[in-house]
């Protein structure tokens, strides 16, 4: 296997090395040279976190074979400024608040650098186009555009350098001030290490074998051939769990690795550790698992029917949780109404898509403390559960939170930390696991999909007399946060409106689909999507402006919620007033009047995107320099 020779200049330093022929430039930079500022967000050229300059041209290094680096000059994010300093663009990112979780930021800074090098006078539309190959999941991009414009203007002398500095707050009133983020410099410079960037001496790499079946009994697992492979340091299955297996946010229904049966495609069944990640991958193919497929169910409604395949012994009806809310007398409420509107709403399973795929590093320290470094959103709960699973006292289990490259609820479940702990305990060496983007998408929790039947009764002057909401959610193979999501969805379902008769039922159901778990707003997005759409349908039928119908029914100070709690202060009408004013809303019933309304366009909107901003003649350097 002849290595490729790479003689190149990287961030101003000459290097001369051999590299394995199959490596990508990304692997060479990160693993061989330790430049971990450049990230692998997806490995398929979609996210831009791997962007580097090769001979002055910005490329996605996950798509560049390392061999192509021979004889080139390469600049990574670490090379944009001298050690300890930040380039004008990096300072602008810091000042504008453009960095949140930071994982996309090195790549984004590189793309922004490329944009301003290509056109130092680029306008906002051209900047957007040139950043079109870089995904950010946290910021919504707005402050990233602000940062690039700020850097452009400071560089071109249009704004002073002091525009990049921290605002002075001599009076000490820091609450309410736009203090620059403490963690931004480490992110814009690429210095911050996430779990997938961390290395420890004698570290092993872990690969995971996953179920190809949605529902199957595990007849046998034979790991002997994998164990016998040269370079394999450890193989684990559920048989390696010393304590009480089972984790989950509300119900401990999920084993560290499949036990007895698999319940969804992609569920972890076994894992292998080796010094060489390629050997670990190849060893997976040597593990022989005999499955006996079982009837599976993929639809929540089907799963609720009697006779449907049951996923968990404790829930023969596949019900994870049902949350009821009852106020007043629903039948009377509808009888009192002049108008009844019914509709059905559905939302889909959605992926968190944080730019940092799951990763973690585990080791057993000199005191025998099992230590896991991972971007977990709940290390307290994880430690509690893991101590029971590996039969160790709580203070012999240690969870350290590594910097989180985006969470949104997707890193709340202890999906892989248990495997890391077991492997570290078995091999007595540090072990690292880094998910591929595909693994992250296919195997980890999604937002609960929902199917909501909605019935609302109103008087002809717009007052809601009754609302009946039934929401059924596919919780997938394991409980995860389903109970909590159903609860929150139910409590908030009928909206911030004073309604005398309310009947809400939310149901979370087991199926053999990818599990649904915590995702930012936790069920409230799904139920309020239905409510806020439904209100507009009703407003149209009654000839009421959509702000009007909401005002008529709005909760106010002293209101009683649908769980019969008194709220002292309710700011809803203030929010409605402020939104109406800020948007310069033209009043009118929502009868589809887009063609006649006069509040469209203007301040607060961006131009419609038709691409080609850089092709426009005005996109290039202006003829006269701006003072």
């Amino acid at each position: 296997m002849p290595d490729v020779r790479i003689e190149a200049t990287i961030n101003g330093r000459r290097i001369a090395r051999n590299a394995k022929p199959h490596l990508r430039l990304l692997d060479f930079l990160r693993d061989d040279l330790g430049h971990t500022g450049t990230k692998e967000g997806c490995g398929a050229g979609e996210c831009g976190t791997c962007s580097v300059f090769v001979d002055g041209v910005l490329l996605k290094s996950c798509l560049v074979p390392a061999a192509k680096a021979q004889g080139t000059t390469i600049e990574t994010v670490e090379g944009l400024a001298k050690a300890g300093e930040l380039s004008v663009l990096q300072q602008a990112f810091h000042k504008a608040g453009a960095s949140q979780c930071g994982y996309c930021i090195p790549g984004m800074v590189m793309a922004a650098t490329a944009a301003l090098r290509a056109n130092p006078f680029a306008g906002r539309e051209e900047i957007k186009e040139r950043l079109g190959g870089n995904i950010c999941r946290c910021t919504g991009y707005q402050k990233i555009f602000d940062a690039v414009e700020l850097a452009r203007d400071v560089t071109n002398g249009r704004r002073p350098a002091s525009a990049l500095a921290e605002e002075d707050q001599a009076d000490g009133a820091f609450i309410g001030a736009n203090v620059r983020r403490l963690d931004a410099p480490s992110k814009v410079s690429g210095a911050l290490k996430y779990a997938g960037d961390m290395v420890m001496p004698h570290m092993l790499h872990m690969a995971v074998l996953r179920s190809p079946h949605a529902h199957a009994r595990i007849v046998s697992i034979d790991t002997s051939q994998a164990e016998a492979m040269a370079g394999v340091e450890g193989v684990i299955t559920c048989a390696d769990v010393p304590g009480v297996d089972g984790f989950g946010v509300f119900v401990h229904d999920q084993p560290i690795m499949a036990r007895g049966k698999v319940r969804y495609v992609g569920e972890q069944v076994a894992a292998v550790a080796s010094e060489d990640p390629l050997i670990a991958r190849r060893a997976l193919a040597k593990i022989k698992v005999v499955y006996e497929p079982l009837p599976a169910v993929f639809d929540a409604h089907e799963a609720m029917k009697s006779g449907a395949p049951a996923l968990h012994e404790y829930a023969p009806d596949n019900l994870v949780k049902h949350i009821p809310i009852r106020v007043g007398d629903i039948a009377k409420g509808f009888a009192d109404s002049d108008l009844i509107v019914e509709e059905t709403y559905s939302t889909q399973q959605v992926e968190h898509a944080y730019l940092e795929p799951e990763a973690g590093l585990a080791y057993v320290d000199h005191d025998g403390v099992v230590t896991i470094l991972s971007p977990s959103q709940n290390i307290t709960h994880h430690r509690h559960m893991l101590s029971r699973i590996i039969a160790q006292p709580i203070n012999k289990v240690r969870f350290i939170m590594s910097p989180v490259g985006g969470g949104f609820g997707g890193k709340e479940d202890m999906v892989y930390q248990g495997m890391l702990a077991l492997m570290a305990m078995k091999t007595r060496r540090p072990v690292r696991l880094v998910f591929t983007r595909e693994e992250s998408i296919i195997t980890t929790a999604k937002r609960h999909p929902s199917r909501t039947t909605y019935k609302m009764g109103l008087t002809r002057d717009g007052r809601i007399t009754a609302v009946e909401i039934t929401m059924i959610s596919d919780g997938g193979a394991y409980g995860m946060s389903t109970e909590g999501v159903m609860r929150k969805a139910a409590i908030l379902a009928a909206g911030p409106y004073a309604i005398p008769n309310v009947k809400v039922d939310t149901y979370g159901v087991y199926t053999n689909n990818t599990p649904s778990g915590a995702f930012r707003s936790f069920g409230a997005l799904q139920s309020q999507f239905a409510t806020e759409t439904h209100l507009d349908i009703c407003a149209e039928k009654l000839g009421l402006d959509p702000f009007e119908i909401r005002r008529i029914n709005a909760m106010r100070d002293g209101a009683t919620t649908h769980t019969k709690q008194t709220l002292k202060s309710v700011s809803l009408t203030r929010a409605l007033d402020a939104a109406e004013k800020a948007a310069r809303w033209e009043a009118g019933a929502p009868i589809s009047r887009g063609t006649t309304r006069s509040d469209l366009g203007g301040e607060g909107t961006r131009p419609s995107c038709t691409l080609g901003a850089r092709l426009a003649p005005s996109a290039t350097r202006p003829k006269s320099e701006v003072a």
């Binding site: 820091f174 203090v179 992926e351 809400v504 997005l525």
Partner: protein
């Protein structure tokens, strides 16, 4: 006109901190050498900016500057429990705990200064690295004050736990007090629909959200802007699909996310209806920021082209199908009328 614009509105509400269960967070504070400060708490920064928020709170409460504050790593063996990142709880639970712990640490330092200067402790002010007694000439930098305290055998320490007075829900009618703080919001969306292709672009969102008290307004905007775009993704283009349990969208080429060219201009209006229970008045923003967006956009699509979207995502196919169906319904009723 092939491109049609429209507007829609939606409101929302949300509860702060863990639902229908008692929430809690603990924090330690130390005023340290040189007038710096250490804050240690189980804080889980996931990009929302909580580290900076806590530094600002500690800085103001202690009387130092945010850059003087070091926040310890979140480590079950090193930091007190502050529970998790989620439920829009950290500014509320941990912010309040840090404020209380900081006040205790400051009180320890003030006690030393009061004795040293012979003044009532209530006359002593600390801000941005300086300590002084009002109405007198007594003042010194915070670094000197710490040195003084230590020479008197006092390490200025504080700790606090902040908990909620909330209950579970009744299993029959759901009654109970699931949260002690609520927030409200409203968003207006303006969209443009291409009636030839069904493609929807969101051109503007005006977002109003009650956050109780904004610790870092730019950070609040960042959460609103990010939440809106994440919601937009679900509303218009994201769709995790499986067939018999097998994902047919296993990568980012098939599961598509909003890019820089897909996002609206966002105008954020921060409302402050302070929480009366916690010491700071803060509430939160992380999750509510994304709740009104989808219905506001769907209502705007209806305004633009009369197509009612009740199932997500509103792909170009769905929107165009609706436009065509509407046109043929209109044609049929015109023909019936003739």
């Amino acid at each position: 006109m092939a491109k049609r614009r429209g507007r829609g509105v939606a409101a929302c509400w949300y509860g702060i901190a863990r639902t229908a269960t008692v929430d809690r967070a603990g924090a330690w504070a130390e005023i340290d050498d040189g007038g710096t400060a250490k804050i240690v708490t189980g804080v889980t920064e996931i990009g929302e900016g909580i580290l900076t928020v806590l530094a600002q709170i500690a800085a103001q409460e202690l009387g130092v500057r945010p850059q003087d504050v070091t926040i310890g790593d979140n480590d079950t063996a090193r930091s007190p429990e502050a529970a998790h990142a989620g439920a829009t709880r950290q500014t509320y639970m941990i912010g309040n705990a840090v404020a209380l712990a900081s006040r205790q640490a400051r009180a320890a330092l003030v006690e030393v200064l009061a004795k040293h200067w012979g003044v009532d402790g209530r006359s002593i002010k600390t801000a941005a690295g300086e300590a002084w007694a009002e109405g007198t000439n007594h003042k010194m930098p915070m670094g000197d004050a710490v040195h003084l305290a230590k020479s008197r055998g006092v390490v200025p320490l504080g700790s606090a736990s902040f908990g909620t007075d909330t209950t579970g829900l009744d299993p029959v009618d759901g009654s109970g007090r699931p949260w002690q703080a609520y927030v409200f919001g409203c968003q207006v969306a303006e969209v443009e629909v291409d009636t030839l292709t069904g493609e929807v672009q969101v051109l503007g969102i005006w977002a109003v959200h009650d956050v109780g008290r904004a610790v870092n307004p730019r950070g609040v905007e960042g959460q609103i802007e990010g939440g809106i775009v994440q919601a937009l993704g679900q509303g218009l283009m994201e769709d995790y699909r499986t067939v018999n349990g097998h994902a047919t969208t296993p990568n980012l080429a098939k599961y598509i996310l909003p890019t820089s060219l897909d996002v609206p201009h966002v105008t954020s209006v921060i409302l402050e209806d302070p929480d009366p229970i916690g010491p700071l008045g803060v509430k939160g923003i992380g999750e509510p920021a994304m709740i009104p967006t989808i219905p506001a956009v769907m209502n705007a699509i209806y305004d633009a082209v009369g197509v009612r979207i009740t199932s997500l995502p509103a792909t170009p196919e769905k929107v165009l199908e609706g436009i065509i169906a509407k046109a043929s319904r209109a044609k049929a009723s015109r023909m019936a009328a003739e």
